[in-house]
């Protein structure tokens, strides 16, 4: 044991009675969550951002038994920042294909909405990322969630002490929220996938840029509290065609994985996506917590359809602070 490990262990021992004493309250509303016995997750091969994406996405939605007839569908991509040499954001071709797919499957309306975490400048981000052209061509309504009208919402779990959060009104007027993250590592949270992507719905006008109030409240707890308290059903489509490893979510390297991942249980989707990155989901703190009540984390509780994880697994590097995530439990 080196000095740092000794000090960390000493601090943990000395603080543990205090922390345990504070830990008596139930952390989530027990009657508000029922985990499915089995969660279906589809991994579909997608070699590139070409024209076949619409069909692949339609297939993924159908294979997960999702019906969207007459629904107002809210697509929430990951659009946080732009770097012409990077792969930070959900590719606009995936968003465009999802718009097409949901419309073809009978959605009443498809809306794209995001609240970028770093930039206030929507016009720049939309234009630079290529999303503006998609929205314009398809005449899609785009909602800037950072500046949407807000509604104070009581949290259904208590991993931050926040108790309540302002959420965008647009969430309350949709029937389905589709989280569309990029397959990325994250230097604060380990990985950023469909659950972490929900940071983007928190309005910057209330919580600022970056959404630091959530980081101060605890990034892992915030991810869980937000996801436990969203007022509408969800689905996830992960853009893993080209992901990012290393110092994500902004400055990592492009990493091709060649897949899209689908599912209605976002915990199961993220666990599967982590396994695709050769990252142990049970060691990602917020996933481990979410797996206790929000969804299924264990391999045995996930019905894997489409491609097997092993065929598309890639070794996504993580920063040193998260080296432990690469130790697969089994």
């Amino acid at each position: 044991m080196n000095r740092r490990e000794f000090l960390t262990a000493s601090a943990a021992v000395s603080l543990s009675p205090l922390l345990n004493a504070c830990d008596t309250a139930p952390r989530w509303q027990r009657d508000a969550f029922v985990r499915p016995k089995i969660s279906k997750v589809a991994i579909l091969a997608a070699a590139d951002y070409g024209k076949s994406l619409r069909d692949i996405i339609q297939r993924g939605i159908k294979q997960c038994d999702l019906t969207v007839h007459n629904a107002r569908v809210l697509l929430k991509p990951n659009l946080v920042e732009f770097d012409p040499n990077g792969v930070i954001n959900t590719h606009p071709a995936v968003i465009e294909a999802a718009v097409d797919a949901f419309k073809t499957l009978g959605a009443r309306e498809v809306i794209v909405a995001e609240g970028p975490g770093h930039r206030r400048d929507n016009e720049y981000l939309l234009s630079a990322s290529g999303l503006y052209d998609v929205i314009k061509e398809h005449r899609i309504r785009y909602v800037d969630l950072n500046n949407d009208d807000v509604r104070l919402t009581k949290l259904k779990s208590g991993f931050t002490g926040l108790k309540q959060l302002y959420l965008p009104e647009t969430l309350y007027n949709a029937d389905l929220l589709v989280s569309m993250p990029k397959l990325k590592t994250h230097h604060w949270a380990g990985v950023t996938l469909s659950l972490k992507n929900m940071f983007g719905i928190i309005p910057g006008s209330v919580y600022g840029w970056p959404k630091n109030a959530l980081h101060w409240a605890g990034i892992n707890g915030s991810i869980v509290d937000i996801n436990s308290s969203l007022p509408l059903p969800r689905f996830a489509i992960v853009d893993g065609i080209v992901g990012m490893d290393g110092n994500g979510p902004l400055q990592g390297q492009a990493k091709k994985a060649g897949v899209l991942v689908f599912g209605a249980d976002m915990v199961a989707v993220d666990a599967t996506a982590a396994r695709l990155m050769k990252i142990e989901p049970r060691k990602v703190k917020y996933l481990e917590t979410a797996g206790e009540f929000l969804g299924n984390l264990e391999y045995q509780q996930i019905e894997q359809i489409g491609e097997p994880v092993e065929r598309y697994q890639q070794d996504f590097r993580v920063i040193e602070a998260f080296a432990d995530l690469k130790t697969i439990i089994g």
């Binding site: 206030r120 929507n122 016009e123 630079a128 509604r151 006008s205 209330v206």
Partner: protein
């Protein structure tokens, strides 16, 4: 462009006299304050600007601050913008001074002792490169200081400092300026307020760079200002958005620099996107193209 943008902004005014982020959204303090300044600079009909002013006046809270809007009713960072919007109006002097006193009492927080201890033990001191002890203003009460709210509050305080306790104002302004310079990116300019994470340099944004420069316009001789000013033109032209071009143009006017290229791009951009109908960007463009930079002079 000026007339078209002004007409669009006017058509987006809510029946309560204020403006939301875009047409159809609930009125908020930020958009209403900037729209009021824009329409004053464009010499709009006083019945319209009076309605906007009334919206603001009626929303001031007992402690002097302004809320974000009628849903998020607590004190907010947008108080500084309300001060800028009302500070030139003699009849609102007391209101503005009260708000200035509120701003003076707000301060960015620091990570708690436990967080610092854990951070130290985990070797997290090297994760970001900034001085956490330098305090500016946060987006939310007691949270960390960031460039944009600090810039707005600096502008507001510098506007009303004569009516506030001199020593305290001087101290807050000095420290906030130090915080701004501490957060500058290596080659100049600012992003939201963090220049480096895990040894990787982060890049500057045009809007926050312009805001930091406007807030420190009375320190224009400093090499940080001059270096950042040299970047701003390119940053804004590359971003090519209503927000970036407008803030940069306002900044250039205040620094006495030629902003012809910025204004030209602003007009072209308006024709192409109408700034996505964002009232804040419309208002800033009107201020930039007209003589609205004077409202940000400190």
């Amino acid at each position: 462009m000026l007339e078209l943008a002004a007409n669009l902004l006017l058509s987006n005014q809510n029946s309560d006299g204020g403006w939301g982020a875009v047409a159809g959204r609930r009125s908020n303090t930020e958009a209403t304050a900037l729209a009021l300044l824009a329409l004053r600079s464009a010499a709009a009909d006083t019945t319209i600007t009076d309605k906007a002013k009334d919206w603001l006046v009626k929303r001031q809270l007992a402690d002097g601050s302004w809320p974000l809007n009628d849903s998020a009713k607590g004190p907010s960072w947008s108080t500084a913008l309300a001060i800028l919007a009302l500070s030139g109006l003699a009849e609102e002097r007391d209101r503005v001074v009260k708000a200035g006193s509120w701003v003076l009492e707000q301060a960015g927080g620091k990570p708690g002792l436990l967080a610092r201890l854990i951070g130290f033990l985990r070797g997290q001191k090297k994760v970001v490169r900034l001085n956490q002890d330098l305090i500016g203003w946060p987006w939310t009460t007691d949270n960390f200081s960031w460039i944009e709210p600090t810039s707005y509050c600096l502008m507001a305080l510098k506007k009303v400092q004569q009516q506030l306790p001199a020593e305290k104002v001087k101290e807050r302004i000095a420290q906030a300026e130090l915080m701004i310079y501490d957060r500058m990116c290596d080659d100049g300019g600012w992003n939201y307020g963090n220049s480096e994470v895990y040894g990787e340099k982060l890049w500057p944004y045009p809007d926050t760079t312009a805001l930091a420069l406007i807030a420190t316009q009375d320190r224009r001789e400093r090499q940080e200002n001059q270096r950042s000013l040299r970047l701003l033109n390119d940053l804004a032209l590359k971003a090519d958005s209503g927000l970036a071009l407008s803030w940069a143009s306002i900044c250039f006017t205040l620094y006495g620099k030629d902003d012809a290229a910025l204004k030209k791009s602003l007009g072209q951009r308006f024709t192409k996107t109408q700034f996505l109908g964002e009232n804040k960007a419309l208002a800033l463009a009107i201020l930039a193209v007209g003589d609205g930079a004077r409202y940000f002079q400190v």
